[in-house]
Symmetry: D2
Subunit: 116 residues, 4 copies
């Protein structure tokens, strides 16, 4: 099994061992995910692109971003697992659809929402 499948299994077992599966209905998991997305957003909320003052604290923010992304990731794969969705397969298909939808020679350098 891949590392991702292994992580999904571990989280499933983690939930089962603690009798937490009953809390992991889709709505609860989405609200938990929203909470983590909020923490991720906070890290970047006042971050002006070229603010030199932010460099000094860049290291600690990188670490915190890593942790928040991890939290969002965990709730997302748990949600997919609970809904019996193969997230890697679903994401792969979505990316294939985008590759077909946005031909390189027509969209180069144009923001996605400016493309017909």
């Amino acid at each position: 099994v891949s590392d991702l499948e292994n992580l999904i299994s571990r989280f499933r077992q983690f939930s089962r061992d603690r009798d937490w599966e009953k809390f992991h209905d889709p709505r609860s998991l989405i609200l938990a995910l929203v909470g983590e997305v909020g923490e991720l957003a906070e890290l970047f909320q006042w971050q002006l692109t070229d603010d030199p003052k932010s460099s000094s604290s860049a290291g600690s923010r990188h670490q915190r971003a890593s942790e928040e992304i991890a939290d969002v990731f965990l709730y997302l794969i748990r949600l997919a697992d609970v809904l019996d969705i193969d997230v890697l397969e679903a994401a792969s298909q979505k990316l294939s659809a985008s590759e077909a939808r946005f031909p390189v020679d027509q969209v180069s350098g144009i923001a996605p929402d400016k493309v017909g």
Copy 2:
């Protein structure tokens, strides 16, 4: 390489081919992710747990949930890639930390936020 690494590489190449890397700064990716989380939330917003009327449309909602989860997943791994974060490693460490923080015999059946 694993399937996940392969997907990350494909999205990176997809962005490079279209000269879209310039749009993929952290703040833009987080806003895009928030957009997809919103679409995911919408699917479940009026979903009362035991509403029998919702069964008939359960199939189509499952498909849409699969697509929205895929979209969130894609922006999340893209964000991690742009920030040079190994999302699988970060998530694995976070889960390990939770395993240590919530001992089975102390938290069984108690909602996470009710645990000391």
Copy 3:
């Protein structure tokens, strides 16, 4: 002036006095708002509708909900102000549109997303 207009003015002056207007571009305010929405979601994430154990802490959660709703409200009216949008007028028009779109005799008791 109404209390709401007064609050909008106070927040504008608050920002001006601290030279924080430069941080209040739309994207930054939306990210800040997402952060507060995340804190609001966290308060309700594991809240099963009929969980009797949650009653004891209901008082403190009500207070925290009040504060998080206030935070979301403040960033939202600030965003509207920065974009020169009359949020009360816009919301009133939206509600009028919903009143026309969902005739009482056709949608009674049916969840909004199940309607037409």
Copy 4:
């Protein structure tokens, strides 16, 4: 009564008339709010601060931003109403707290998250 109180009352009556109060539990309203925040975020996701190409469509985006802000506002005041929270009073207190917490002469021009 103020315009805001009037709007809150109208939304309450709107919900009662359609027998939709049963859908307006806090978790459902938060998920609905997240959906609208997502639509708001989408409008600004690829918006680079100084992109001249975005000027042409600025008018239509302003209109859409107005509508999305209105939607977030409506769900937020409905949530406050359901929880029996005086949102204007709560927001006013929060702003007062911020005024006290961030003295003008100490924080001028410094991003909020950089302040002690």
